[in-house]
Symmetry: C2
């Protein structure tokens, strides 16, 4: 059997994006990794903060942001502008040449506006295609792709797409030819049986148990999209999917400690 | 003599960025061009509008924006986020696959923070290097680079750099190996002897006349950086430098009409 190249798809959001020292520790850890890495970021709290300063009240439904035209401008500014360029510039300080990308760049991620839904999400896009060859060309050139959760419909419209969904879609798109490890970093130590109680973290979670825990309400609505994305990536052939605390990422990828919850089929 | 490849460096700002129909006409015209194009954009009025909504009062000195930390966030959001991604997404509607870039992306444009100046400009960068090979690789892949006027110092700091300066620096960097035409689009019909009077446009302006007109105050301070950048590009070997109204760009590049002011040495 031919040894496949290893690709790590790392997703960060929340505190990892908002807190400079957490972000720096993650970028430093990525800089030391010897294998291919693609970083996907969310917007942390900054989009919400900016929206409020502009008099827009953010509305979330089941962990997803309702995006009207004014909110789309805010997320494009914060995700594709401020956060994306900050991360790319910070990578340079760690000796890594990164390239910041959103869905329209090089037609990287196309999506269609979500219309058949009970909830009116607004300018929210469901991914229809990821250009793996484009990302490969960057990786081959020694550029680390840093991807903001903005997509486009190919007809001129920008769309907002959940960062976990983008990370899972990219990991899945690479799974045919690469050994892909998807790391979903967030602000909890893993999937907990008791919310916030680190001692109740499940080291492993399979799909049957996931269904059981969602039915019984142990896994709450905010966690559902993240876990659904994770299991979808597994089903698409991604080799490893792990939810872990952003603060645990550095020591985990340095093989110094176990961390978080590994999803298994 | 070997025929050199032709590269058009097009700079847009002001109304061309703010007004959707002007922008659409420029993108449509670029989509029809058979030769290489790099588009550099400013931020139009949106950075100023957003700054005011956030309670920040923009300060301009000699056509250049004073950029404190809060204003840097605003210009990164508006230039590298909103405007850049809007343009890239709009190009897709014209059948052009573009890639939005800022200085930190792929370490495209490095700059040093301006310190030796009478005016305290804040986070303003003077360009130290442009990665021509990276831009060439995009052009060779059929990707049209769309460049926001944000640079970085290579040590983690984003910087604000004038878009005319970036356009001139990119044109100059390509001049050794390409036949380069620099088109500086703006909101006036060219260099006018009487401000706003189209009949007073100079079809041609040479460096000696430029010095004369600046000394006598006919060319005002807001125009100085644009013209200095244009003459610097000529001196660096750029083949053609033209200042023209954004509305005249489409018919000019379609060879349907003359437009604006051509700078000559």
């Amino acid at each position: 059997m031919v040894e496949r190249f290893v690709l790590h798809v790392v997703k960060i959001g929340g505190n990892a994006v908002d807190n400079p020292s957490t972000l720096a520790s993650i970028l430093a850890a990525i800089a030391k990794m010897q294998e291919g890495v693609i970083l996907v970021h969310g917007g942390g709290g900054e989009a919400t903060t900016l929206a409020r300063r502009l008099g827009l009240e953010p509305v979330m439904v089941e962990g997803r942001r309702i995006t009207d035209a004014a909110m789309l401008d805010v997320v494009v500014m914060v995700y594709a502008g401020l956060i994306n360029k900050r991360i790319v510039a910070s990578f340079a300080a760690h000796g890594v040449t990164a390239i910041g990308l959103s869905g329209p760049d090089g037609d990287l991620i196309t999506a269609s506006k979500r219309t058949k839904s009970k909830v009116k999400y607004g300018y929210v896009g469901d991914i229809t295609a990821v250009d793996v060859a484009l990302l490969e060309s960057f990786l081959d050139s020694g550029l680390l792709p840093v991807i903001a959760p903005i997509t486009h419909d190919g007809k001129g419209q920008l769309l907002n797409t959940n960062a976990d969904t983008i990370a899972a879609a990219i990991a899945s798109a690479f799974a045919r030819d690469y050994r892909v490890l998807l790391h979903l970093c967030f602000d909890q130590p893993g999937v907990c049986l008791v919310p916030g109680d680190e001692s109740s973290v499940l080291p492993v979670l399979d799909a049957a148990r996931f269904r059981e825990l969602s039915a019984s309400g142990v896994i709450t609505s905010g966690m559902l999209p993240k876990l659904e994305n994770g299991f979808a990536a597994l089903a698409a052939g991604v080799d490893s999917v792990r939810l872990l605390h952003a603060d645990a990422f550095a020591s985990f990828v340095a093989h110094e400690s176990e961390a978080g919850t590994e999803l298994v089929e």
